[in-house]
């Protein structure tokens, strides 16, 4: 088991009170597993990804435990996380395309980053060139400024930098959303290639695009309003979901070949609840067609089959 997250809660501190962005999440990511993390904007998926590596204010650690390779991570302490960051756990941030220093050439910037981790740039150079080759970038990019590269090239460069120290866990936050379909496919397949070659042991891929996850991930975790809704192997989530939110989310996606005139798709009526003073119990219940009295209590995230978890009283509860 590469990553074990137990009962992790992260809130945002604001003047009007705490925003419950991540509430009691418990899940595992296995060895060599690419886990997709999907949900609507504001559901806490980026909060979850970021909190595992850098807990920056106004994020507030409430409770929980994170184990990476059976070693507890000091998630709550920004200083103590330093030895782990980028070496054991690394992130390709959202908007990675703008993550590079515009005043430094790529090579120089990479060198500075490596030095900050106590690694010699010259000694790493052959490895760096090998990795550039893997993502099909010419060596000459090291002498370029970020502005000289296209969005797809920048995204691939950040992937190389993030995985240079062979982390156990790689968090990829929306790495394909700003790219064209052709670069999207190339970047997504490179991520799988990285895992296959062991450059990172496991990965969490955060995206709002379920169809990308269907292509590359082994399992998918669906979040809703700061809570976990369902986690299962990819094929089960896409073809046989159990949680009502997952079902409705998948039904909103137009397949290639669907036409408005033949089959009209419907969205999910309503909006997610505000996470400042969120409702108790299941947070999906206002939009859920199956909601009943029991839903005011928080449904547990239980394993119903091997590898298939869900939180819903109706589907997975004792009377289901």
């Amino acid at each position: 088991m590469t990553l074990q997250v137990e009962d992790l809660s992260i809130y945002y501190r604001t003047l009007r009170g705490d925003v419950h962005a991540l509430e009691s999440t418990t899940f595992n990511v296995g060895d060599n597993e690419i886990m997709g993390l999907a949900g609507e904007s504001g559901c806490g998926k980026t909060t979850l990804g970021t909190s595992l590596i850098l807990l920056k204010p106004p994020m507030k650690f409430i409770k929980g435990r994170v184990l990476l390779d059976n070693e507890e991570l000091p998630t709550y302490d920004t200083e103590k996380m330093n030895p782990f960051r980028f070496k054991k756990i690394s992130i390709i941030p959202q908007y990675a395309m703008n993550a590079m220093n515009p005043t430094r050439k790529i090579g120089k910037m990479t060198g500075e980053l490596l030095r900050s981790r106590g690694v010699d740039y010259k000694a790493t150079l052959p490895l760096l060139k090998e990795r550039l080759d893997l993502v099909k970038l010419p060596e000459s990019v090291l002498d370029m400024y970020p502005i000289e590269m296209s969005g797809g090239m920048k995204q691939r460069m950040v992937m190389v930098i993030s995985t240079l120290l062979n982390p156990s866990l790689l968090i990829a936050d929306e790495i394909t959303s700003a790219l064209d379909v052709a670069s999207q496919k190339a970047v997504a397949e490179m991520l799988v290639e990285f895992r296959d070659q062991g450059l990172c042991k496991s990965a969490i891929v955060i995206t709002h695009d379920l169809s990308i996850l269907y292509e590359i991930s082994d399992s998918i975790l669906i979040m809703y309003a700061g809570q976990l809704a369902e986690k299962a192997p990819t094929d089960i989530i896409i073809h046989a979901p159990r949680h009502p939110y997952t079902k409705m989310l998948i039904a909103t996606l137009p397949e290639v070949g669907a036409k408005y005139s033949e089959k009209r798709l419907t969205g999910i009526p309503g909006n997610p609840p505000l996470l400042l003073n969120p409702p108790t119990g299941c947070r999906f219940r206002d939009r859920c067609p199956l909601a009943f009295a029991k839903c005011v209590e928080l449904p547990p995230f239980v394993e119903i089959e091997k590898g298939h978890f869900g939180a819903c009283w109706k589907e997975f509860g004792p009377n289901a």
């Binding site: 609507e40 052709a182 670069s183 496919k185 397949e189 070949g257 969205g267």
Partner: protein
């Protein structure tokens, strides 16, 4: 209804404006009444430039744009204002379309001051409520609010409602749903299709082929400012001919089928001069012929309602 005749756009770049960037090259197509036309391409293909030229937000370098038979590309003053009564646009980012300091309904009062100065309050409110209801919003829930109090889908529908206040005939929808969540984007998309029944034509600009197929009758595929394939959406999807269209189709992530292990040829720089086929550097080697080097291929009709600009496809 709207017709583009050999429209081109050249931007001047470089330090002293000496470098020419050909964003749109010789593009011609037409959109009929009550039709939804998709404009599909990667970033940098010139699709937004075409939308902005139709909306007269940027000038065109050569060619003309006809609306109901009248060339609008050089209209000014009262004639241009009259054009805006008929043609309006909605853009990608709903949050940056509003001034966050003012309430969101300020966009409606602009329309009123400019186009309906003599209308009484009661008539105006009736008109406003009517157009909000068309886009599926409850006026009581959404009026008198600041942009941050509304969701992206609501703001985007607000903008469509604003356009409807003018009894428009043509809407340019530039990536209007790419920033919305899956649960709300399909509602906005359905709204566009419903509006067509009310006599609206839409230019739907997108990079997502499955959305284009879901909603549009005809499509235009753009590559580096050139139209490479156009025709009925059905025919393009069932029988993509241009290698670029095929590449796009193969790269779309879909839920019913996994990607085939084909190699994606990524874009390279250069070859902008326009003396070979624009797709030459990315094309598969076994498809390249001597003819491809001769110049930009013109659109040829390969079957009824299906045009493609490729030397290798039309033989």
């Amino acid at each position: 209804m709207l017709k583009l005749n050999n429209v081109s756009k050249v931007y001047h770049g470089g330090t002293f404006g000496g470098k020419e960037i050909h964003a749109v090259n010789d593009v011609s197509f037409d959109i009929a009444n009550k039709e939804i036309m998709s404009l599909i391409g990667e970033s940098g293909s010139g699709k937004s430039t075409i939308g902005k030229m139709i909306l007269r937000l940027i000038s065109i370098s050569s060619g003309s744009i006809d609306f109901d038979g009248v060339d609008v590309s050089n209209q000014k003053g009262a004639a241009l204002k009259e054009y805006y009564r008929n043609v309006q646009g909605v853009f990608q980012d709903p949050f940056s379309s509003y001034n966050p300091i003012f309430k969101a309904d300020r966009i409606f009062s602009f329309v009123r001051n400019e186009f309906y100065p003599g209308v009484s309050n009661a008539d105006w409110n009736k008109k406003l409520n009517n157009s909000l209801e068309i886009v599926g919003l409850n006026p009581e829930h959404v009026l008198n609010k600041f942009p941050h109090q509304l969701s992206g889908g609501q703001l985007q529908r607000f903008l469509i409602a604003r356009a409807l206040l003018l009894d428009i005939k043509f809407l340019v929808a530039d990536e209007i749903i790419s920033m919305l969540d899956a649960s709300t984007r399909i509602d906005v998309l359905n709204l566009l299709a419903d509006l067509r029944k009310r006599g609206l034509s839409v230019l739907f600009i997108t990079h997502d082929l499955s959305l284009a197929h879901y909603i549009s009758d005809r499509s235009v595929i753009l590559y580096r400012g050139y139209v490479v394939e156009r025709g009925s959406t059905e025919k393009i999807f069932n029988n993509p001919l241009h290698p670029y269209t095929r590449l796009l189709m193969a790269a779309v992530p879909r839920l019913d089928k996994r990607w085939e292990p084909t190699k994606v040829v990524l874009e390279t720089k250069g070859d902008e001069a326009g003396n070979t086929c624009p797709y030459f550097s990315r094309c598969y080697d076994d498809r390249k012929t001597e003819e491809c080097k001769l110049g930009v291929p013109s659109l040829k009709e390969v079957e009824p309602e299906h045009f493609v600009a490729c030397c290798g496809c039309t033989q």
